[in-house]
Amino acid sequence: MTPPASGTRHVVAVLLAAAAGGYWLASGYYGKELLAETAITAILAMSLSLLVGQAGLVSLGHAAFFGIGAYALAGFGARLGWPPALAMAAAVATGAVAALLVGLVAVRLAGVFFIMITLAAGEMAHAWFLKDRLFGGVGGMAGVPRLDLSAIGIDTGDPASFALLALGVAILVYLLLDRLVLSPFGQTLRAIHQNEERARALGCPVGRYKLAAFVVAGAVAALAGTLAAQRSAFVSPELLTWTLSGEVLIVVIVGGGASLLGVSAAAALWIGLRHQLSTLTDHWMLAMGAIFVVLVLVAGDGIDGAVRGLWRRLAQRRGP
């Protein structure tokens, strides 16, 4: 639960970024798509990691904010015709507001009940977009604009550039959330997670902190959603299904929950594995399900913990 020593953390971050960069250079067209999807999933997983890993709030409705961000971008950018950058900012703000509204009710509950109310909230949002007419209901809506970076010579319409953009945003989100996690705010969230009663007795308005974490996580999830909408220029209610929330939760747990880099690596693992398995068999979900059941059961601390455990063992072997 204590944040990792800073030195190793930076090394791992650079290694991960280098791996992504190497893949970007080596991959073909579809690889760029997968890379962008991985970056987006990593952002979503990092946002949920703040909730689950730091504050101990297990949300099963996180995809709702992802979807709301995507739909808000479609609304502001395509329907209202705002410039994409402004529309993106407004979409992130919309995600934050939505998270605030849900959070006001949800943070008063704990454990399984928190899981259930976030599930209910997510399903409500999903039902709303299934029904709505402005964004095409079940069929979704195309024509979501991409960020215009031509001023600095980047054509985001090009998939290779867009993959880089998504990676860049993921790195920015990492730096931001890393800062947050290591700050007194992050420490307070961990304190609440470890012992809520004590945190309260020390003077911590626990509900407000949980709410703040929920809003930040919602905003970052919405940011991921805006990228997802830009990637395919398209939004549909699929973005808000509760099974997506569950998948991201698995990614977070496999990644070690609290480790931003761990969950990012797990996002890459998730996307890569799904791609590899689905080229092998139409029943890839069976294999994915089995693999993740085993991972959740065995790797208690996720990738992060497994790597650290291995590191410790190696270090011991080298020792006297």
Binding site: T2, P184, Q187, R200, A201, L202
Partner: protein, 254 residues
């Protein structure tokens, strides 16, 4: 015009609390001037823990008021009372098991200092918090164990940290819930020394079973029985009281 007297650091007035048909607290009043060491004793089931929770804010009274200094905190929760300078320890250790001693003390100070809203600075590089943690650790006898994970501390040391977390908030009023519970005689003596050494700027109210600790520390003692104040007085008065001897002390000391 008569100059207003200095308000008591902690006061309770006519506190009542029932759980269903059970009346746990039946009109208890207390008043602790600043700097006072005050103990609450009473047989099991006398309502000590309920009263403690009413004062700490973990429970809301059905009737009566709680004041901290000049502020009425009856409606406040435990966190709001803590922000007004009230700190408490727990009868069963309630720590941050995933942190080191230093991090736990820093965390307590950060929360109490309202630093929790700061998200742009590194927590672990805050010199002020670290220095404060070292000072508190020295005070509670954990100076040599700053880097030890809380979960790895021995029981007695965890009890000391329990007090340390409360002290880290720089409280004006400190509520201690059986600080020596489960300790060996040696550890108890260390705790006694620790408590005796606390500065007079802190007002202390303690619930305690160990009468040696009580009579050593307290300047005034409230004896609770069936949720009511049986007697309040100096330790000597309490020791001398036939009533108390019959109801309570007699059973123990013979």
């Amino acid at each position: 015009m008569i100059p207003a007297a200095m308000p008591p650091a902690l006061a309770a007035d006519g506190l009542r609390k029932s759980f269903g048909a059970l009346e746990a607290t039946r009109g208890v009043s207390l008043s602790l001037p600043p700097g006072r060491r005050h103990a609450i004793i009473g047989p099991n089931g006398a309502g000590k823990t309920t009263l403690f929770n009413l004062l700490a804010g973990a429970l809301r009274p059905d009737a009566g008021r709680v004041r901290l200094g000049s502020a009425d905190v009856t409606a406040d929760g435990p966190d709001a009372r803590a922000r007004r300078g009230l700190a408490r320890s727990f009868q069963r250790n309630s720590l941050f098991p995933g942190m080191t001693v230093e991090a736990a003390l820093m965390t307590a100070a950060a929360i109490a200092g309202g630093l929790g809203a700061v998200f742009w600075r590194r927590f672990d590089r805050d010199r002020g918090l670290a220095d404060g943690a070292a000072e508190i650790a020295a005070r509670v006898g954990l100076a040599d164990r700053l880097a030890v994970p809380v979960a790895n501390l021995a029981y007695g040391a965890q009890r000391q940290l329990e007090i340390g977390l409360a002290l880290a908030t720089r409280p004006a009023v400190l509520l201690l819930d059986e600080p020596t519970a489960g300790m060996s005689p040696e550890e108890t003596r260390a705790m006694q020394r620790l408590l005796a050494g606390l500065p007079r700027t802190i007002t202390i109210l303690v619930i305690e079973h160990d009468m040696d600790v009580v009579f050593d520390l307290a300047e005034r003692v409230t004896v609770l029985d069936y949720g009511q104040v049986l007697l309040e007085g100096t330790p000597d008065e309490v020791r001398a009281s036939d009533l108390v001897r019959r109801r309570y002390l007699g059973d123990r000391t013979g």
